[in-house]
């Protein structure tokens, strides 16, 4: 099996398969009268096949080997020391899996809510998937940059064309913020290409970067990843982008795009530049704690449920960076689990908001109430994901938050105290959201007439619910894959 598969460039096939699907839709729609339903089916099939390809990668992947695997190389830009290199290790494997799992769900979810320009929407989502998988599997900094930045175009269009009323302000803010961060990263990439004559990440990780240069490089990369993650105080674009994006856009944004920042922190800020990472760890931890507490308070004050969940994302990503820069085993483990958990939970919560929005065309929390009585299925799923977001034991949220707190505790007890406060606040705003939406008297006529989840909607939630419990109850399925890689990263950090 493995020898047969190693002959084909599995990662490239997986990366570019969605793009191929997008081209198919583009050309078929151009030259024939393709029905919109057909393009929906094509997009779903393509993203599902991509998921199967990702599964193939998952099974071929050897989790005892901490190094990069399935490495592909091709000449691309030799005069600028850039190469086409793809490869995967235990860390990026999970990011790829997240992308491959969430994209088909997001596409399925879009069937109900996207009403215009359906061909174009499917094309944009599929291109986005290629860009995201490409980011996670690129092992050359220039290539990484191209994919990392290429995400902007489809996302800009998704928010701008299919978004809400204030979408224009939101798209600008999203685009220019991230562009500014990324271009500073570009300067760092250029510096690396010139100073070290290579942009091969594997080689750079191996040979290390001298500390005086590494500080500046680290800061430039930080600018990009901090905007993308987003970290306090670079998070302001997120609430606008989320509120105005269509549900599918929010799902992809929260589920995958934000994780690109986290991935960058792990791969570059920690793995490639460990010394500089150590140096800046206190700053990162302080910013993370501010993000956790501040975003929780802001979330609590929201009247728009999508905004509330957007701010909760900021808080959860705070746990990710907190865990990462605690620089110990539990912290890194916890960060990985928060990443996994938050991807699935926030995707589901945004879809949950979408369900309510599709029916009533408002996201005002006060307009709803007592939905538990007429929409029991919806209430159940929302409950599962609310509890996971709160970090109830047995759900994915618990594993992640517990471990990153433990990591923080090992680093410094006060960090853990403040971060623990964040968990309490998280419970406050999430549970109060749930109470206001689902319990209480049902005195609004239009709310009481809302139908429960359709089969399609349930199908979107179900796999995510399974994953949430899976991570919560049997986390080693997930940690087994990356523990070997994590160990080598840690060893370099401790030195």
């Amino acid at each position: 099996m493995e020898t047969a598969l190693s002959d084909i460039p599995l990662l490239s096939v997986m990366t570019f398969f969605p793009l191929l699907g997008a081209l198919c839709i583009f050309f078929i729609a151009k030259f024939t009268r393709l029905k919109t339903d057909a393009s929906k089916v094509i997009a779903l099939t393509v993203s599902f096949v991509t998921f199967l390809l990702a599964l193939a990668v998952f099974f071929v992947f050897d989790n005892t080997n901490p190094a990069f695997q399935l490495v592909e190389r091709a000449s691309w830009l030799p005069s600028f020391n850039a190469e086409y290199i793809r490869g995967i290790d235990g860390i990026s494997l999970w990011f790829v899996m997240i992308t491959a799992i969430i994209t088909p769900i997001a596409i399925l979810n879009s069937f109900g809510s996207i009403k215009k320009n359906i061909h174009e929407f499917m094309i944009a989502v599929l291109i986005l998937e290629t860009m995201m998988i490409g980011t996670f599997t690129s092992l050359d900094l220039v290539l990484f940059y191209v994919f990392f930045e290429g995400v902007l175009i489809p996302m800009f269009l998704i928010i701008g064309i299919w978004g809400g009323e204030k979408r224009i302000y939101a798209t600008y803010k999203f685009f220019l913020y991230t562009l500014l961060g990324s271009l500073l990263m570009l300067v760092a990439v250029l510096y690396i290409a010139v100073a070290f004559n290579t942009t091969d990440m594997m080689q750079l990780i191996e040979q290390g970067v001298p500390i005086d240069a590494a500080i500046w490089i680290w800061l430039a990369f930080f600018a990009s990843f901090a905007v993308k993650t987003p970290m306090f105080p670079f998070h302001t674009w997120l609430s606008y982008a989320h509120v105005e994006a269509p549900t599918t856009g929010s799902v992809l944004l929260a589920g995958i795009l934000l994780k690109m920042g986290a991935y960058g922190f792990i791969r570059i800020s920690l793995q490639m530049l460990p010394e500089a990472g150590m140096l800046f760890a206190p700053m990162m931890i302080v910013l993370s704690i501010i993000a956790i507490i501040y975003a929780s308070f802001v979330a609590f004050a929201q009247t728009d449920m999508k905004k509330l969940i957007a701010y909760s994302s900021v808080a959860h990503m705070g746990f990710v960076t907190l865990g990462l820069f605690s620089m110990n085993e539990q912290g890194l483990d916890g960060a990985m689990f928060v990443i996994l958990s938050h991807s699935f939970v926030s995707a589901a919560l945004f879809m949950g908001v979408g369900v309510a929005y599709d029916r009533l065309h408002t996201r005002e929390i006060a307009r709803f109430g007592g939905m538990a009585s007429n929409m029991p299925q919806y209430a159940m799923f929302f409950m599962i994901f609310t509890l996971a977001a709160v970090g109830l034991p047995g759900t994915s949220g618990f594993t992640g938050e517990f471990l990153s707190l433990l990591g923080a505790y090992k680093a410094n007890i006060w960090i853990a105290v403040f971060a623990g406060l964040g968990i309490i606040l998280g419970a406050v705003y999430m549970l109060s959201l749930y109470r206001r939406l689902f319990f209480g008297k049902q005195d609004k006529e239009d709310v009481s007439k809302m139908p429960d989840l359709s089969v399609r909607e349930s199908l979107c939630f179900a796999p995510l619910a399974v994953l949430v419990f899976w991570i919560g109850l049997y986390p080693s399925t997930f940690s087994n894959q990356y523990s070997a890689t994590m160990k080598t990263i840690l060893e370099r950090l401790v030195q």
Partner: protein, 489 residues
């Protein structure tokens, strides 16, 4: 000494000149009614000249010589740079003749002399990029400018167009005066106008005398005017707005490229030894152009004016490559310009297709919602604008990447950072057009009226911008080899 083979080697120029003579007679006798025939004849001569540019190897093989070849008492230089430039000038000019046809048909102003004027300008540019002597430089520059003056004012009935022409004449005449004045200083001190001799003399000079430095600054100022670098950019927005759209496209591509090549040749050949003297000035030009181009573009409501500021900003990026110098810097300049010309041609193709109530329009608002009425051109325009904004994976990103790479390599990281910041700002105004096309509702009467030429040029440009990533080496190798040719070892 002039040899017979010299005439064979300047076959492209001779062909163009013959073409001008033939087509001017054709235009005179056939009149505007058969302007199409004249257009076709001009395109034919461009094709012949193109053939002569790229296949003169038999001559150089015959001479057993390698580049560079000096002709006509070293007045004229034939090297890889001049060929590269001539190739792109021909591509841009041919594209513009096709687009002009579409444009002038819309306003019923198809004049037979129009393509002839373009050909005259092209002939001037050919001499500019092959100049190896200040006299040749000046003659080429003026030949080109004279044709451009008329072209700028070509919409005779439009006051704006006449104003653009007049403004360009006056300012351009002043800059030519400044150029000549500077040349007189240089000639006065060194006693020669030949680039190669100047190079030898300059490299022997230990201390730069004031008089020569002043002369050089004057020459640089005049060329900065031609490429519209800040603070010599004032004419560009007005002339770009007033001139007919295809003429604006012409201004922004071919003459600018020729002037830029000339600037590069001057700086790296005769003035190479004086780089400490000019580098500060060029750094100022570059930073000022990038920053002004980025900020001033934000407030524009006319797309041609916006493109004028965008081209000012792009000159700033290009000058970074000049500052970085060396093979990598010049490679970046050539590559950037090549990509930029194709990118801009596509954008102007879409702009020319833009109509409101059957009249060409250039207000950005009129692009509203055109993705719904003409999805094909809107899509091309989106790709081209994203590319101009430098978003990967499009070619415009690589253009910027190469320039900034050269800057970092030569230790000008600060310039790269300024470039990066100003490209974020200018991304805003490119995004605005995309936003208007895709996120707004269509306006009454506005439409993208495409014909074959527009569709083909916009489509070709968009495909080139997307396809560059697949084979970046093809083009970067070529420009690297050409760049090596500029530098005198």
């Amino acid at each position: 000494m002039i040899e017979a083979s010299d005439f064979l080697l300047i076959a492209p120029e001779i062909l163009l000149f013959a073409g001008v003579l033939v087509t001017v007679v054709m235009a005179a006798f056939m009149g505007d009614k058969r302007a199409k025939t004249v257009n076709i004849a001009v395109l034919l001569f461009f094709a012949l000249a193109g053939y002569a540019v790229f296949f003169p190897n038999r001559v150089s093989d015959f001479m057993g010589g390698m580049f560079p070849l000096f002709l006509f008492n070293e007045q004229f230089i034939e090297d890889a740079v001049s060929r590269f430039a001539k190739g792109f000038i021909l591509i841009a000019s041919s594209g513009i003749i096709l687009l002009s046809w579409t444009y002038f048909k819309q306003i019923n102003n198809q004049k037979a002399e129009y393509p002839v004027l373009i050909m005259l300008a092209v002939l001037g540019m050919f001499f500019m990029v092959s100049a190896n002597d200040f006299i040749m430089l000046y003659a080429g520059l003026e030949l080109q400018s004279l044709a451009l003056y008329i072209l700028a004012a070509f919409n005779r009935s439009s006051a704006k167009s006449s104003e653009a022409g007049l403004k360009y004449v006056i300012l351009s005449a002043i800059s030519s005066g400044v150029l000549l004045y500077g040349l007189s200083f240089i000639y006065g001190y060194f006693g020669t106008t030949n680039f190669a001799e100047l190079y030898a003399l300059v490299s022997q000079t230990q201390e730069m005398p004031m008089i020569a430095a002043v002369g050089m600054v004057f020459v640089l100022a005049a060329l900065a005017f031609k490429i519209s670098a800040v603070p010599f950019h004032m004419w560009a927005p007005d002339v770009y707005t007033g001139a007919p759209s295809p003429v604006t496209a012409f201004f922004a591509t071919a003459p600018k490229f020729a002037a830029f090549i000339l600037l590069v040749r001057l700086l790296f050949q005769p003035f190479d030894g004086l780089s400490q003297n000019w580098i500060q000035a060029i750094i100022f030009l570059s930073v000022a152009s990038m920053v002004l181009g980025a900020f001033a573009g934000l407030a524009q409501s006319n797309i041609k004016r916006l493109l004028a500021y965008s081209s000012i900003a792009n000159v700033g990026y290009l000058l970074i490559g000049v500052i970085a110098g060396g093979q990598y810097g010049l490679q970046a300049v050539l590559l950037y310009f090549g990509i930029y010309i194709i990118n801009l041609l596509g954008i102007f193709a879409v702009l020319i297709a833009l109509n409101k109530n059957d009249k060409p329009t250039d207000r950005i608002e009129d692009f509203s919602g055109l993705s719904k009425t003409n999805p094909y051109l809107a899509f091309c325009m989106m790709i081209l604008l994203f590319s101009l904004a430098g978003i990967p994976p499009l070619a415009g990103f690589f253009a910027k990447y190469f320039v900034f790479f050269a800057a970092v390599k030569s230790g000008y990281t600060a310039l790269a950072v300024i470039g990066v910041l100003s490209s974020v700002i200018s991304a805003y105004y490119y995004l605005r057009i995309i936003r208007i096309m895709y996120f707004s509702e269509p306006m009454e009467g506005a439409a993208l009226r495409s014909d074959f030429a527009v569709n083909a040029i916009a489509g070709f440009a968009a495909i080139a911008m997307i396809g560059f990533i697949l084979m970046p080496e093809l083009f970067s190798d070529l420009s690297l080899r050409v760049a090596a040719d500029i530098l005198i070892e």
